[in-house]
Amino acid sequence: MDTLLQQLINGLTLGAVYALVALGYTMVYGIIGLINFAHGEVVMIGTMVAFTVIVSLAGSGMPPLLILGIGLLVAVLACMILGWALERVAYRPLRHAPRLTPLITAIGMSIVLQNVAMIIWGRNYITFPPMINKEIFEVGGASFTNVQVAIVCLAALVMLGLTYLVQRTRIGMAMRATAQNPHVALLMGVDINRVIAMAFIIGSALGALAGCMVGSYYEIAHYQMGFMLGLKAFTAAVLGGIGNMAGAMAGGLLLGIIEALGAGYIGDLTGDFLGSHYQDIFAFVVLIIVLMFRPSGLFGERTGDRA
């Protein structure tokens, strides 16, 4: 069963990335009930910024890991600013507008960001320079690289940190309180605008990290890459129960594994009629099934009426 093990490993890698991006969707939704459709583009910008930094430092003689680290850091900072600005410029003025208005604005921002990225980084696929010497490990007939190990470990570490932040710190308490009852949170002295800004900033930082992971895993980037990635991560968030952080993590991992298994076995199942390039359909089949049978998701406790 080496295909099974291999696809589980690949799925875990992919799932870790989906989980990080899904957290960005779910944190914002949990607090203001907005599906930030521009989040996928924030991830893309993160990848692109990391790419630019890494390429421009590549000839400097610095150790590759340091360059990668700087690229990651700059991308995370850039996306934090971008996330903050998005909320401030596009969503905050619409705080009291009907729910459909910010949703459409989010789609608009997604298009704007894509086009800005196209102008800056061009229409072609960009090759992400490999900064880590790939090492391949073999276990039980399946193989994985040190990049995959790094992705999964880093994602796990970041998710642990985020859980601590939300469960144990003052700002985390304020975020949970705001998500559960914004009016009463205000009475307790919580500055709601600050909490909302924090949700965008943290979500965007996670997105940037995920973007860098995707870049180092596939070694390519493209100005439209945020669209599909964002849609899949959104599916993961819905699968886990949108608004629920543990759900986003579980949904991301589960979706990654479903997708990888699907890609691995679709050829066998359809007598090679459909190949592994049909990988993308699995996320949407999952989305449709979840919306039909369990719209509140696996961990979702409330069936919100929010758009």
């Binding site: 309180a177 009016h183 009463v184 009475l187 002295g189 500055d191």
Partner: protein
């Protein structure tokens, strides 16, 4: 301590509160009574800035409250126990109480106040680790009052604390309100149960379709035949 003058609240085109004027002195408990829809809760919601008043002024210890950001009120010493309790349903009782102290950073005093609140409501001690959404209505009301006390307020605003509770629970809640008042807390109590409200308070205001129509000492209001006929079911 609190001076409200000409306060107006409107929803769309409808005036819910039509320029009311009243005051609360330091250390007293004042009841705001009236029928459903008279504008009592709207008044409290405007005072605590859950909604923006259409006009008027609210002076508190010499400061204009309407000029402050809504989240700044708690630091001024004003706490509201909202209608319907408004506990954070997926936080534990203990976390809810700590949220009450969110605007404070005097750790030692917070710990003392927590002991005090748990002393007032021993039931909350038993339920400390329980998620607030699974508490009974009465327990949630205790939690909401305890949470408001955790902010160490000088002025406590209570919005319909008896609403939807069993009579025995109402009794318990009002015992605690009495105890808190006897410690010198200034309280503005909005209550549909006029008899109960007038029995615990020193002064009362009667609201009728957005206006204050009668005001007097509570025991005189209790004896007033018109008030008795309209609000005490006699």
């Amino acid at each position: 301590m609190l001076e409200v003058s000409g306060l107006r609240v409107s929803y769309g085109g409808i005036q819910a509160v039509r320029g009311i004027t009243f005051h609360v002195n330091e250390g007293e408990m004042v009841a705001l009574i009236g029928a459903n829809g008279a504008g009592k809760s709207s008044t409290l919601r405007a005072l605590s800035r859950l909604l923006d008043p259409a006009g008027g002024s609210v002076r508190y210890r010499g400061k204009e409250l309407l000029a402050l950001p809504p989240h700044g009120l708690v630091a001024e010493g004003i706490a509201l126990v909202p209608e319907g309790r408004g506990v954070f349903p997926r936080m534990t009782s203990l976390e809810n109480l700590y949220m009450g102290a969110y605007a404070r950073n005097d750790k030692a005093a917070i710990a003392r106040d927590l002991e005090h609140v748990l002393g007032l409501f021993p039931r909350l001690k038993e339920r400390a680790q329980q998620v607030a959404g699974t508490l009974s209505g009465g327990e949630q009301q205790m939690l909401a009052i305890g949470r408001a006390l955790m902010s160490k307020p000088r002025l406590l605003l209570l919005d319909e604390p008896s609403m939807g509770l069993a009579p025995i629970m109402v009794q318990k809640i009002f015992e605690v309100i009495r105890a808190v008042a006897s410690e010198g807390m200034t309280i503005l109590l909005v209550e549909q149960n006029a008899k109960l409200a007038l029995e615990v308070s020193q002064r009362g205001y009667v609201m009728e379709s957005g206006e204050i129509t009668v005001t007097d000492e509570s025991n005189k209001l209790l004896a007033d035949p018109k008030v008795r006929a309209a609000y005490l079911g006699e």
